[in-house]
Chain length 306, copies 2
Amino acid sequence: MSRSFKELLEQVRTCEKKTLSVACAQDQPVLEAVKEAHELGIIDATLVGDEDKIREIAASIHMDLSEYAIIDVKDTVEASLTAVKLVHDGKADMYMKGILPTKDFLKSVLNKEVGLRTGKPLSHVAVFEIPGIDRLLFMSDVAFIPYPTLDDKKAMINYCVETAEACGVKNPHVAPLAAVEVVNPKMPATVEADELRKANEAGELKNCVVDGPLSLDIALYPAAAKEKGAEGRPCAGRSDILIFPDIHAGNLVYKAIGHMVPGVQQGCMLTGTSAPVILTSRSDTKDVKVNSICLAAVLSEHKHKA
Amino acid sequence: MSRSFKELLEQVRTCEKKTLSVACAQDQPVLEAVKEAHELGIIDATLVGDEDKIREIAASIHMDLSEYAIIDVKDTVEASLTAVKLVHDGKADMYMKGILPTKDFLKSVLNKEVGLRTGKPLSHVAVFEIPGIDRLLFMSDVAFIPYPTLDDKKAMINYCVETAEACGVKNPHVAPLAAVEVVNPKMPATVEADELRKANEAGELKNCVVDGPLSLDIALYPAAAKEKGAEGRPCAGRSDILIFPDIHAGNLVYKAIGHMVPGVQQGCMLTGTSAPVILTSRSDTKDVKVNSICLAAVLSEHKHKA
């Protein structure tokens, strides 16, 4: 079980090496991350995009392109479709966004012929390693579904459980979060959290323990759970997975942790696809991108075994 | 201008000494905080409640009760009404919850004859000092109004502005937060954030600069604002006041910061009342309670001057 990104990297190294397909790879931050992940022995990569620009950037960052496959496609939409098709056809294991509009990247992911559709909702899993917490935390949805329905939240839980399992966490503890830990009909988020608990109890949500609503302190900190008399709740102080009421709550917490907590490590993936998809933002550091590639690699291994 | 709780304490010491009225003061954590605030020279206090128990606890924490007024009222509801009436009648400057149910404490605050009603909505201001951020941050509402209306949010901004002014922050920058920094009709929180900006532009929200919607990183970090091309926005990287879309977003961020950020300092107050009201939770540390008393004291001074 990987309790940190360092341990996750060790875990990835025990897996078969994965191949990453990059759409519009002519982007320095993305190439730097691909180079580092390759040097760490995690991946090989196929770089799809403007070959001249890829070669120019690679030279400037001392990246030896003889170790990578390159497919020269200048048009961004065509490049994305070429890159995603490699994954669709099983010639690559995971798909990463380079320098193209997110909208166009998502269109390629959802393309009916060459994309990675599953018929399930697309969502997003963010993974954090937070100093003082002795395990990885999996959060959804902080970036993709604005106001998830109950069904969306069930899908979000399944994606997080799959990702946690890929990281070696067995039967993870899931906390649908709210401001309070009791069901209040005037607060729909608490009612939905309770519905998710019931769906788990009824066997609809498998391979996990769901207990909501929980406040963030009770979900994560045994001492807080005890102070509030909630230490007997199944996920109190031991949650692995945090499900947010909506994107505002999720994104604001995500940004607060990412910016305010010293020493935090993070990575993320798009989920609901047939193969792992890496969609980091330009402002993410190289570490975030490399961590995300690690996550995608263990998830790919997990999907192959399943 | 106080940029930290330490500076706030210095500021309080330049004010006339305030009197705190405590409802059901027979509570060790509350008495410890009152003792420390008194020793720091911030307050005198009237302790209303079960005198025997107050004396017993005071003895155990070496608190010299000859320096305090005590009113012996054993019944909790009666004690709260006695304590709040002292503030209502101007015999004390601020009101603090001791050991009684929050519901009963709030009933005393809202009592028509002896309470502190203003006709405006009750809300909550949390104040944070976060390492790496060079000023105090004022947040609302993380604990009181579940789903604030647009009018509630206007009131929340006014309360935060008043609190910031009391701390010496002139014309504070206000960020109504959301997951994104652009208005999207499908995300009501962004539309409301824009309405608040317009209300400020139209002169309805005074003595502040409102700019929303903003994401948390753009609101607080100049580098993030620049990366996202938002550095020209009036509150980008310099927000003093953060307004949350709803209580779930607010409370989850509040808990994340409070539990995960080393070295954080915080305090809070109930707002919308005619005098400052301190309603900390049992799990708050003594520092949080003392910081909250400091905040109430500067706000009381500010209200007297206004």
